[in-house]
């Protein structure tokens, strides 16, 4: 069985009309566990907004991709659909049934139709349970089969996922199987109940590269045979492009862009989507070009940036994207990675405590170091500005106030962009204002 021809792919744009799952303003917030001392005194230790206001419709028979870096809330969203994550607000309706209100028996009943495949196949199987028991367990839990019937259905499921001859695998333990085989067993366990929707949380990311396409092919075959709907969670845009009908790009608990796969990849609109697409290394050495990567990493979800959550990394950010005090520190520090040590030492002495900048505030107070004045600080800022005048940070500065003790910077008031239609897709970015908005185009449109 060498390579599969391209025809093996299911028709891309089937009719997906019937809504299977509809998610409205879903929020999953986790209370942060502070030290026991903080809890004792009832101090507020903050929350992580793992999922923060997501609307999604999933149509029967489609493959919806959830794409984003780790910590963007993809898994939490998937788990919330199965009732495995605590839902703070909003609703999830599966065929009119409201999952967020269910518990106990009703929830277990619904889970017959919604199944999940996990990222780490080694962790998803009970190491102390053999494959026959593990794959057949859903049937026993729901009292759907026993004895010979149970075994027949287990064998059937194993053969369906390519674990054949099934006899060889029935008595094995997860530890005796390879990663790909374990993932196949996990999939067999998920499909044995004949589910409607399969949530696959990075099903191939822990597997060896040569096994990945085998597993994707298996999932395509199963979809065609069993009439499945998939939510495919991944951080790998390449497999999403191949596998999904629609893609939702997530960042810090929000969907920032959603649309059909064709449109998203042909013309990525959100700067985050553009960076993700740009970051995929190309196999063709002639095509690989030096890229403009966004700086930094996904911020701490416990204290997200003001305004647009992507603004500290966004190369196209402008005045109303939510500039704040913390960005000044990033600016200073990234400037200091470009200057020689002596210059750094000199500038560091002029500027006082940079920790004072670590506040989510539209006003920044940059103190002068001992023996220096606000004027000295101002001069350092001017040098930094002159060194890189295109730095988006400066677009957010409304005014600078030089006083003796240092420099105060007022930023433009930011605004959190809402998900709005733009072209054929929906985007949450100020670069795509609602029609008729006077705000006008940004100063630095993308090239």
């Amino acid at each position: 069985m060498p390579t599969k021809p391209e025809a093996a792919r299911a028709p891309r744009r089937a009719e997906h009309d019937e809504t299977l799952l509809s998610i409205r303003d879903l929020r999953v917030h986790y209370a942060l566990r502070g030290s026991s001392l903080a809890r004792l005194f009832g101090r507020d230790v903050g929350t992580v907004k793992a999922v923060d206001g997501i609307d999604l419709e999933i149509a029967k028979g489609e493959v919806l991709g959830l794409v984003g870096e780790s910590g963007s809330g993809k898994s939490t969203l998937g788990r919330a659909v199965l009732g495995l994550a605590p839902i703070t607000g909003g609703s999830i309706a599966y065929e009119e049934r409201r999952i967020e209100t269910m518990s106990g028996r009703a929830l277990r009943e619904v889970r017959r139709n919604l199944q999940m495949v996990f990222q780490d196949p080694s962790a998803a199987l009970n190491p102390a349970m053999d494959i026959e028991t593990a794959v057949g367990h859903p049937l026993r839990i729901h009292r759907l089969a026993r004895g010979d019937e149970l075994r027949r259905r287990v064998v059937d499921a194993l053969e369906r996922v390519g674990l054949s001859p099934a006899d060889q695998f029935l008595t094995k333990y997860p530890g005796e199987l390879s990663g790909g085989q374990k993932q196949r067993a996990v999939i067999a366990r998920a499909i044995i109940l004949d589910p409607v929707l399969l949530i696959a949380d990075e099903p191939i990311s822990m597997l060896d590269m040569s096994v990945r396409s085998k597993l994707l092919q298996l999932m395509l075959d199963l979809k065609a045979d069993l009439d499945l709907t998939y939510v495919y969670i991944t951080h790998d845009l390449a497999s999403a492009k191949f596998f999904c009908d629609r893609v939702a790009i997530m960042y810090l608990g929000r969907v920032v862009e959603i649309g059909t796969t064709e449109e998203i990849f042909a013309d990525p609109k959100h700067p985050y989507t553009q960076s993700l697409v740009g970051a995929i290394p190309d196999l063709d050495p002639d095509r690989s070009t030096p890229r403009d990567l966004p700086r930094g990493e996904i911020p701490d979800a416990a204290s997200p940036p003001l305004g647009c959550a992507f603004h500290p990394r966004c190369p196209q950010a402008f005045d109303k994207c939510g500039w704040e005090s913390r960005d000044l520190r990033v600016l200073l520090e990234s400037h200091w990675t470009t200057v020689p040590e002596a210059e750094y030492d000199a500038e560091r002495a002029i500027i006082g405590d940079v920790d004072a900048l670590d506040l989510p505030d539209h006003v920044a107070a940059l103190p002068a170091g001992r023996g220096h004045s606000g004027g000295d600080v101002e001069r350092v800022l001017d040098t930094i500005h002159a060194a890189d005048p295109d730095e988006p940070f400066w677009r957010g500065v409304r005014q600078r106030r030089v006083v003796d003790a240092g420099v105060g910077i007022d930023f433009h008031e930011g605004e959190d962009p809402a998900l709005r239609p733009a072209g054929g897709v929906q985007v949450a970015c100020h670069l795509y204002p609602p029609p008729g908005d006077a705000a006008g185009p940004p100063p630095q449109p993308k090239e």
Binding site: R79, L82, L84, L107, R108, E109, R111, R112, Q115, M116, F118, Q119, D120, A123, A124, L125, N126, P127, A128, M129, D130, H137, P138, I141, H142, Y173, V186, R189, L193
Partner: protein, 307 residues
């Protein structure tokens, strides 16, 4: 079956010192098991027998003759007391270890899985029990139980159960808590498994491996505590069974008058069985604990590589 396989798997892979420790321990413990099981046939007399065929035993007879190891000041045959003592000791230990194991396992699993206030209260109680010196705790419970059900094998076993329960509870609860967060438990919940199924089918098999090791290590400890209880007169009454600790305390007075045989043999039995149980426990620990375990590797000779 699955559990047995996982528990036994490391045995085949051990070598060297830990294997010898285990073997030596097993031989010693097996010797006492034989004494305990075959007491009726091995011991010439009963544990509370003072006469045979209507002839009273002599008091404090020297070893030799009819009485292999002599008799003590209660006219008992020392060798018989040693043999029957093995039965008492093993009965108490097996009961106590099994009791604390089963109870600790059940409480630990439920407490770890359910969490919340139930867990907090249990942890508090167990920690309080654990903080007590074992002997003191055993004495207190020995007293209370002796009052209620008499000072027999069962009450001794029960007081030891209470002493060792917290250890199992803590280990099982902690591994349950970490297993509860694992993906396979979440996967089980995603399949629609109710709490009972999750505990019995997904958690049980994965938290049980540490238990046998604590069991054997505790057994040695329990024997020491039992002997101490007996020594203090809180163990088994001489008419209910032979208790090495009790015999030892009786023999204390004899020692000053040059009578050595009444104490030496029960003392030696205690030391030997504790040693045996410890060896088995440590051997098991090294065998099962993957960090301590040295895998059997095949040596590669240089010539092999040049083909």
């Amino acid at each position: 079956m699955a559990v047995m396989r996982r528990v036994l798997a490391p045995f085949r892979e051990t070598v060297g010192f830990s294997r010898w420790m285990l073997l030596a321990g097993i031989v010693i413990v097996a010797f006492f098991v034989v004494l305990a099981v075959g007491a009726e046939w091995i011991a010439p007399y009963g544990y509370a027998q003072k006469s045979a065929d209507g002839v009273d035993f002599p008091k404090l007879a020297e070893p030799g003759g009819d009485h292999l190891l002599g008799t003590d000041r209660l006219f008992f045959d020392v060798w018989s007391r040693v043999v029957w003592g093995a039965r008492t000791a093993l009965e108490v230990i097996v009961l106590a270890v099994a009791g604390s194991m089963i109870l600790g396992l059940a409480l630990g699993l439920v407490s770890g899985y359910v969490g919340g206030w139930f867990d907090r209260i249990l942890v508090l109680v167990m920690d309080a029990l654990y903080a007590f010196p074992p002997l003191l705790l055993a004495i207190v419970f020995g007293f209370l139980l002796a009052d209620k059900i008499g000072a027999g094998v069962v009450s001794a076993a029960l007081s030891l159960t209470v002493v060792y329960l917290p250890q199992y509870f803590r280990v099982v609860r902690n591994s349950t808590i970490s297993a509860r967060e694992s993906t396979y438990v979440e996967a089980a919940r995603a399949l629609g498994a109710p709490g009972r199924t999750v505990i019995t089918r997904y958690l049980f098999g994965n938290v049980i491996h540490s238990v046998p090791v604590i069991g054997t290590l505790n057994a040695a400890d329990a024997l020491g505590t039992l002997a101490a209880l007996g020594f203090l007169g809180l163990g088994i009454q001489p008419t209910d069974g032979a208790d090495w600790g009790f015999d030892l305390s009786r023999a204390l007075d004899d020692a000053s008058s040059g009578i050595w045989w009444t104490g030496v043999f029960s003392g030696a039995a205690i030391v030997l069985l504790i040693t045996g149980l410890t060896l088995v426990g440590e051997g098991l620990n090294e065998t099962i604990n993957p960090v301590l375990r040295k895998k059997r590797l095949q040596k590669i000779r240089r010539e092999e590589t040049i083909r």
